[in-house]
Symmetry: C2
Subunit: 266 residues, 2 copies
């Protein structure tokens, strides 16, 4: 009888778009979420700092006896996955490889765009993996540092958001990409602007493929939650909860009051 | 014979605009600067978290035997000044009171605008102090959460920056303010856009008045550095130094390679 929860973490609220996919694919699973709202954003930080923060968070999630840890955050997925894998025994699931598989399934011209935070793009994690799986592919990557603050400000479809999106994406469109990977969990919140800017180009949200993978993984390893009571999700943050709770309600359509944790202690 | 340095800290690079003023007013003083580039920005964090971070930083600066601590950061100045004053014996200088004095000297119609981060505006520190010194004044305050990321992205004079500035400031202009306090150290970097948006309204940079005050304070307390050798400034950050060093060169017109500190240990 398994009653362990799935641990999910992110630099802040962005990972809620991943939780939304997880709930859609695994409505019976319980989720324990941690959002590092005190130290958000991760996108401009060094690999060392991001990895140090991520290790503290996994340590915290393990005190909650989670059966797997999902790295919702694109910056941690692309910078710290191998370090975390080496440091912990719990199954750890990242976003990059799932985004890549999904993208390689749809691209026709093997010309792929990747957008993410500065740290994600600097890591070249998407590029390396695409080239490894399909050496003939061409990858054009671009960091979009203003997307996270725009999403956090709630400016997801006004003129400033649209103009910023066009400024960032024009060079990728000029390269004739036919698919675009959203390498940051915040970016699905700007979907409307991105869709308008790129027209018919396929937009890939890695969280969709990752959620399908996790459902299969739990099934194959006999780790599915086999309680029939409704799952109770729990949300932790490292700073004030008001803003998080408000965005949580918007993204998940449900109120889950969050609790504060002193994450530097882990 | 005084050879102690002045400690200055900020959430990141913004405080360099304060350092620029300090050097202008006190070319013979030595500065030890700390920028919390790992945990930037402070503007969306709670008072508790900002104060905790600020205490760690003052602890660190005291290990360098500084003779005074300048809170360059608007968010810390407005949220944590009294807590820091109570916790430490070293003279601590904030920005708010100096911005207010400067503004009350120039306003003709006592209708004042204040812009800053969410945490600065939420603290109402500027408002309280203006009302205390001049009860008949009217204060209109507005947080501008995208200004810091725009400045960090280097988008300080393009169309997105201009449009964002106009969206944020229009309601203050409509209120007929005749002076506008820049309550965040990053905002002087967007001066061009702000000036264009507000026309003839007086723009107040609290760092100018604070620097003049500090020069006077050191003189009156016999704390001026009386070495005639050229001062050597030192810069510490909590995360990667590249971006900091680049912006430091831009703002101060000089290369000062920074060193990394594990600030959570203090």
């Amino acid at each position: 009888m398994n009653r362990q929860a799935i641990g999910v973490f992110d630099s802040g609220v962005g990972g809620l778009t991943v939780v939304r996919e997880l709930i859609k694919h695994m409505p019976n699973e319980e989720i324990i979420y941690f959002g590092d709202t005190a130290r958000v954003p991760y996108g401009a930080k060094s690999k060392e700092t991001v990895t140090k923060y991520a290790r503290q968070i996994v340590n915290f999630l393990l005190t909650k006896d989670v059966k797997a840890v999902v790295i919702a955050c694109g910056t941690v997925s692309s910078n710290s996955y191998y370090d975390l894998m080496a440091a912990f025994d719990v199954p750890i699931i990242e976003m990059v490889s799932h985004g890549v598989s999904m993208c390689l399934d749809v691209t026709q011209n093997n010309t792929i765009g990747v957008i993410g935070t500065e740290a994600t793009i600097r890591s070249r994690a998407y590029e390396y993996l695409i080239k490894q799986k399909r050496p003939e592919a061409q990858v054009f990557a671009r960091s979009c540092p203003l997307f996270v603050p725009l999403a956090e400000e709630g400016w997801t479809s006004n003129t400033v958001a649209q103009m910023t999106t066009e400024l960032y994406l024009q060079e990728l469109i000029d390269r004739k990409i036919d698919s675009l990977i959203l390498g940051c969990t915040h970016y699905p919140l700007l979907l409307e602007c991105i869709q308008r800017a790129v027209g018919g180009i396929h937009i890939i949200n890695p969280a969709e493929a990752a959620a399908a993978f996790i459902a299969r993984f739990l099934r194959e390893h006999g780790l599915e939650r086999d309680y029939t009571t409704a799952p109770e999700h729990t949300f932790f943050v490292s700073d004030n909860t008001n803003k998080f709770d408000r965005i949580c309600r918007l993204v998940l359509g449900n109120a889950y009051p969050s609790q504060t944790v002193d994450i530097e202690r882990y």
